[in-house]
Amino acid sequence: MTDLLNLAGDFPLLDRTVRGGKPLVYLDTGATSQKPAAVLEAERAFNSRHNAAVHRGAHQIAEEATEAYEGARAGVAQFVGADFGEIIWTKNATEGLNLVAYSFLNATLGRGGAEAERFRLNAGDEIVVTELEHHANLVPWQELAAKTGAVLRWIPVTPDGRLDLEQLDVISERTRVVAFTHASNVTGAITDTAPIVARAQEVGAYTVLDACQSAAHLPVNFAELGVDFAAFSGHKMLAPTGVGVLYGRRELLEAMPPVLTGGSMVEIVTMESTTFMPPPQRFEAGTQMVAQTVGMHAAVDYLTGIGMDKLAAHEDQLAGELLAGIAEVPGVRVLGPSSTQDRLAVVAFDVPGVHPHDVGQVLDDQGIAVRVGHHCAQPVHRAFGVHASTRASAGVYTSSSDIQAFIAGLHQVVKFFG
């Protein structure tokens, strides 16, 4: 049994009450996390001391802003085992995943010249995704396939909500891209990436990892994982909204055409044509979310201060408590692995005969915030034969008493609609 962390006091929002004075029990971290005071302070300090356009001014505040912005890049790079130049700021993970797909589209349309030819997709080429994906790592690939004539194939899920690694021969010589999640936001399953990366490398396909749920809850090192690209969002890992990261292997980024174009990513612009800067600038058009990158820096510093190993152990403990508690509520079915092995503290479940909206409403009435719906992952719900589910998810600030309150609330739900 691990010693649980006790950090809720760092998070201003968590001491509020809801629905007429009930203390808030926040179990919706899988959707978005709350932010520690240290993050809010960092953003505030930037805005009231160092705010200026970065990479653009010769004046002192502009220098300070540039250092804060690039310092944040360095901090995040270190946090995920990347080089400085391999970190591209995006507004969220969704943009990061789309960025890869659109850069490949642009290459296919002849942009980026000969260097970018390796990213072109032809009719008959295949893109492999998985049935477990969040829509953010599925729909952009459907769109890319539709535009290039490539064919979409997918790795199915097992009955306990994991990627079915027996079916890796979906990845073939025709496969050009393999896009898959590092951890599911529905089943909580953590992917064993090694066989997928190995298979993709064997056939020369690019790997794109959705690290939204993993980067927030586990130690990750993209260089060690050997993936080509990875995307994650700040708001899920204690950072502000409006900032995310795309990781790309330097050698690839250097050869890829830009997607968004405009200021701060060009070298020479004439009316007729434009040359582009090297990465990461090439992919950061216009004025960026500077204050939010500073918040993101503070967030990874906060997480590093705790230690991602400790955080993972903390959440592992909570996942166990969640699973054990739910198992005692009659009839409730967990959509995902029933043990904590390779699993996040993200637990979606079905209460037969009671719609998730109604489950959520009764919990909300007791001050317990969970998420209901399809969690932006309709296919995996369909695989489980349901339409939607209720999901409880924990974070660094979650305590055992939060879990207990939730389990008690769930008993109430069953009673109310029983």
Binding site: D358, Q361, Q378, H387, F416, F417
Partner: protein
């Protein structure tokens, strides 16, 4: 809770009226609630300016199912204009943040008044209105364009 889940809502969500499909609808509309993927289809036939028959299918929460069931009971057989009027008044109620409307309107709404509490929960507004949106779509399709 009891304010939101009035008995009539719970009853209608279990014992649903009007579920089914028509063979030859004059109008039909499919609606989705994108938050949860809940969906419903409403079909109508018209005769002499009235809703001659109405049927619906769908999956969703107790609020959306009860709303469809009660809608069926209240509008089927009614003149189109009255059904539309009722829909407008219901929309007004649901957007009233949990407060009742004036007496006349509450009288008109009858059992639909049980949904008053839904207005307090903005995330549930769409649930209560999903069926009515589909009804509006189905009626629009069934009627010769009024231009």
């Amino acid at each position: 809770m009891e304010q939101l889940y009035q008995q009539v809502i719970l009853d209608h969500s279990r014992q649903r009226s009007g579920e089914g499909e028509l063979q030859a609808p004059d109008g039909e509309s499919f609606q989705v609630n994108p938050t949860c993927g809940d969906e419903c289809t409403v079909q109508v036939t018209l005769a002499e300016g009235a809703i001659d028959s109405l049927a619906w299918t769908g999956k969703g929460c107790s609020i959306s199912q009860a709303s469809l069931s009660l809608m069926y009971e209240m509008v089927h057989g009614q003149p189109v204009a009255e059904a539309e009027q009722l829909g407008e008044t219901f929309r007004e109620l649901i957007h009233n943040r949990g407060q009742e409307l004036d007496e006349e309107k509450m009288d008109l709404l009858d059992d639909l008044g049980a949904f008053t509490g839904v207005g307090r929960y903005s995330a549930r507004v769409k649930c209560a209105l999903l069926g009515w949106m589909a009804l509006r779509g189905a009626l629009a399709q069934a009627q010769p364009t009024q231009a």
